[in-house]
């Protein structure tokens, strides 16, 4: 009896832990947006509405990327009060690539490397003081980055 009770308790604890971890991850990581097949659907899932075009966002990326598997992208927001930068690669199977958050004290800048399946606009959406701003830059790809 003692053994059974111990086994049961251990199983219960393990189950609890297994349930808790994915639930926390799910709350943080926006599955609906990441699984969206179009940029518009992803933005909707992120509650971005229709962001205003802005010239105060700089995207530095190659005009022509020879290797779509590794395309360096550098983004700087010059919009005051920027809290996050989100990246969408319009023609990828899942356009939403990620969101980078900048607590106060961190400069609204990020450098990343992304996979581009084909020639595509790279769109950036900046959240600043509760509003959304956007700009895009076209990157030509000679060898796609999704075939492996």
């Amino acid at each position: 009896m003692q053994m059974n009770r111990r086994t049961l308790l251990q199983a219960g604890a393990a189950l609890g832990a297994a349930l808790l971890v994915p639930m926390r991850a799910l709350a943080a990581w926006n599955k609906a947006a990441f699984e969206a097949k179009s940029e518009a659907d992803a933005m909707r899932a992120l509650g971005m509405g229709s962001p205003a075009e802005s010239k105060d966002i700089e995207i530095r990326a190659p005009e022509i990327a020879e290797n779509g598997a590794v395309v360096p992208i550098e983004i700087t927001s010059n919009i005051p009060g920027t809290t996050s930068i989100s990246v969408f690669i319009e023609k990828n199977p899942f356009p939403y690539t990620g969101t980078f958050e900048f607590p106060s004290g961190t400069m609204p800048y990020v450098h990343l490397r992304a996979k581009l399946g084909e020639t595509t606009p790279v769109r950036v959406v900046v959240a600043a003081s509760g509003k959304f701003y956007t700009t895009a830059k076209e990157v030509k790809v000679t060898i796609g980055g999704c075939g492996g």
Partner: protein
């Protein structure tokens, strides 16, 4: 256990330029090998702390390149400040590494 990250934090004035290289396959789940789909395996969340304060966080997709590289800049840093970076992937694996801010030129 995944391989350690390479983190470099260099001071430029009072701004810490932090660069990190993570060892991860970042499998999209769309790639095939020998006719079979390689299951998706990619980092989903990243957080960075400077002396225990969160200074950078990210939610990312499988579109980030293999062995991801990120760089970001934190104001108000000084030499010797502790930088701790953690990633977690879709299979529940995670990795935390740290370094200290190095005085720059």
């Amino acid at each position: 256990m995944p391989d350690p990250m390479k983190i470099r934090a260099t001071l430029q004035g009072d701004v810490a330029d932090i660069r990190v290289l993570m060892a991860h396959p970042m499998e999209t789940g769309l790639r095939k090998q020998g006719g079979k789909v390689v299951p998706a395996h990619y980092i989903q969340t990243i957080t960075a702390q400077l002396n225990g304060r969160t200074v950078f966080s990210a939610d990312i997709s499988q579109a980030i390149s293999r062995n991801p590289v990120f760089a970001f800049k934190v104001k108000g840093a000084k030499a010797g400040d502790k930088v701790v970076i953690t990633w977690k992937d879709n299979e529940g694996q995670s990795r935390t590494d740290e370094t200290t801010v190095q005085g720059g030129s």
